[in-house]
Symmetry: C2
Subunit: 378 residues, 2 copies
Amino acid sequence: MEQRFSILKKDKSTRARTGILRLKHGDVKTPFYMPVATKGAVKTLLPQEVEAIGYEIILSNTYHLIEKPGLEEIAHFGGINNYMGWKKPILTDSGGYQVFSLHKHVHIEESGVTFRSLIDGKKINATPEKVIEWQDIIGSDIAMVIDVCTPYGIKRESAEKALKITEIWAKRSIEFWSNSYREGRMLFGIVQGNFFKDLRIQATENLINLNFPGYAVGGLSVGEPKELMFEISDLVAQRLPEEKPRYFMGLGDPPSILTAIAQGYDMFDSALATRIARGGSFFTKFGPRNIRNTQLKKSSEKLDPDCTCLACENFTAGYIRHLYLSEETLALRLLTYHNLFFLYNLIEDARSAIERGIYSQFLSNFLNQYSENRFKKV
Amino acid sequence: MEQRFSILKKDKSTRARTGILRLKHGDVKTPFYMPVATKGAVKTLLPQEVEAIGYEIILSNTYHLIEKPGLEEIAHFGGINNYMGWKKPILTDSGGYQVFSLHKHVHIEESGVTFRSLIDGKKINATPEKVIEWQDIIGSDIAMVIDVCTPYGIKRESAEKALKITEIWAKRSIEFWSNSYREGRMLFGIVQGNFFKDLRIQATENLINLNFPGYAVGGLSVGEPKELMFEISDLVAQRLPEEKPRYFMGLGDPPSILTAIAQGYDMFDSALATRIARGGSFFTKFGPRNIRNTQLKKSSEKLDPDCTCLACENFTAGYIRHLYLSEETLALRLLTYHNLFFLYNLIEDARSAIERGIYSQFLSNFLNQYSENRFKKV
């Protein structure tokens, strides 16, 4: 197996590291955050704009793509890259999370999961093998295994049951993956186990034995207290092999991403940046704000001081507020661009701090400036 | 009075002409079409993108701007150009049309018109003088007088009454305008008279006597048969002085614009191009189409053959259709861009045909290719 991941630099006082992930559609510097193109588009933006910000990889979603436009259409266009006009790497989530969060009647067996399409009501049967085949057709650089996602607060018995199936599926997934050569592509296993520490440890160890090209932690950031989340993610990260990339799924708020980088995570994704933009919220180095805030009326300031994004270089917060209140979609476009620009540059700064061996200082400076309390108002 | 309008070339077999309009924020080649930025933004697009297409002038709306964000906010930012980041000329409609179409209880007197704000219910009193003062604050290059707009199908008596007030307002407007020097800015009178030919002729002659810097025809393209519309617009255009620019208000479908150019009109605006984009419709040289059309499923073609716009150069019709059906606003952005690109280049071609003295041939070739019937399905 080719060496797809190389660590370039390790921070001294944290487990943060920088590296390179070599994928079919190009190299990606780690740590990185992936803008979410759930349905084959990063909301409101052109792929050219996402690339111009600096992004080297985006995320799409197998579940959403098989529902609409359907695999046949994506195959017709020769895969997701051609289809959406994005030339760089793409990671696809398997869609397990969506199956369990969007569908009420989901039938889970060891063989796979069955649910009805929300588009046409047809039965869809997803097996570990099929989910990989679907991602083969989509042509994503990084494919994810299908897993059973469980909510915060369930009983141990349910968590055990879900984990058992997740582990059976993981084994079948890596076996199926290993039967074919997929140039420049990777399959990631996902650590589940809900919020039971021993289950998480067991899940991590079992997954490591399957020798996946990369590992993700899933089922976190689903409503649990931040402290508990970081306790679990730390347990997992400490056990994952250093030489493999580590992906913290669904984490999108800036302080949490930086904290998880200190734990040794390399990869992040979240719809947060684009979703809060639609609600008028935007990131600043002093914490998030909302464009509807009356303090911003007639404001000649930038959204975030010193920001050099397209929105901040060309428009005042006062004008963007007017656009938002007038229901002009240009406002959503400007706020989305700003938020993705903010996250890209934040992680770029994190990378640079790791390289200079000053990550703890960088992290604590950032956290001091960025008020978690303000963020909760978003 | 400075010479703001120069005719460069007259077509031989039609009344089409090319020219230059010299305005405060720059020169504008005629004939031209103005993208509509009703609320201070061309829907979905950055001003930089509108300029990159080639546009030299856009339109905004006094009525909408006084409602939101309000004149005080626009004054605070030093006028509409600064506010929205558009450096080139802007024409503002007075908002007469909006007052009469959006408000049920409108009180019209010779002194002015009174209505209640749709934002806060406060009484707004618009007099001819105030409407000019508002446009002074907005800082538009071309201001329009306030007029009484009447729908298609009213009785002669009502049309006469409306026209009488429109004419009183026109006289007060030009008198008020002439009391101050407004560098590089113009005031246009508007010919009304509903669909009564003698009233239109009378209105045109009376307005000419007031010696406005430019003339518009208003109250057309409001649901009447096309033939009747063109009969009226022709009557008016024939009588308007050749050396003044002629503006056909609210006309947006490509064949009609080209036909009105042949009648001697120089300026156009319409929300059509941006509005139909939101419904999925787009212009092609073979007439408009709708992106929802199942023929476009999996289509690898451009929206319009040979089009070189951002949307057509980068994306297939099949993908844009997927975006539209998935309610991704990127679809509206791409269709809006395409439609504005189409109109700009159509009028650019028209200008070039006039310069080469072959406008009739150009017009008949275009009309043959572009099916009016298909357009009606939009």
